[in-house]
Symmetry: C2
Subunit: 153 residues, 2 copies
């Protein structure tokens, strides 16, 4: 089995990350038109002067096999920042090889290195494969909380 | 009725913000020991070289009547940052005077000024007063998503 290499994204990765984000949106059954992401927006968000997010790339036999996007959130109970995982995705045809686990392990390493109190992310309630994977890592659902959203156009 | 003034927090506000965070934790029935926040941690998180969060203060007759803590998150669908509201709290004895609404209005103004695609926050499912307030603002619950958390100690 080919080795998995996890590395930080570089600007040349942007087009392929965008295509993987589109694949994830399709997998998550996002509403048509929900995706207004462009390569320019992602390049600015990752590498611009007001960068808002970081990306990890999983490589397998020189191919981009998956990615993770994350940023720092903050817990007022803890008084410390945490790591919020916005996206994690592995190409469907490359699953079952430990690529998602390798991405997660690197995210956890980064979170610990930066003194984060915890790691959090959102999961679609019907995505039982993902839920089983997250539970196997020791993560727990915040069942008593619901996210509210106000779209600003 | 006394006028409500909304302003950004300054370092001298830290002790009183911490006492309001403790009041919010009690209101939200946080588990004993869940709060490891200190004044030093909050001062570093708000004003240190690696600031992770911002705070707004609501003043009413010269008294700190409430606060909001927020940071920027990121939406890969939108390719833009958003505003995540970590805490919003008004002293129970000062509710019903539009203080929460004034804090929200200022958060929305900041989010729009900074080009945010949306504003998001978590709500406890039993907090119907809060849910009614958020729905009156046009916010919608992400009912199909659950937050997962991995504590890192």
């Amino acid at each position: 089995m080919a080795e998995v290499k996890i590395r930080h994204a570089v600007p040349a990765d942007v087009p392929e990350i965008v295509s993987l984000i589109r694949a994830l949106a399709e997998y998550e059954k996002a509403a048509p038109g929900a995706l207004s992401l462009t390569e320019e927006l992602l390049r600015d968000s990752l590498f611009g002067p007001h960068a808002a997010v970081e990306a990890l790339i999983a490589e397998c036999s020189g191919q981009m096999a998956g990615y993770a996007l994350f940023f720092h959130n903050f817990s007022s109970w803890r008084g410390k920042r945490g790591l919020f995982l916005e996206d994690i995705f592995v190409r469907p045809e490359l699953r079952g090889r430990g690529i998602g686990k390798a991405l997660f392990a690197e995210l956890l390493r980064i979170a610990r290195e930066r003194g984060c109190s915890r790691m959090e992310w959102l999961v679609l309630d019907w995505n039982q494969t993902a839920i089983d994977f997250y539970r196997s890592l020791g993560a727990e659902p915040l069942n008593e909380w619901t996210t509210f959203r106000l779209n600003l156009g």
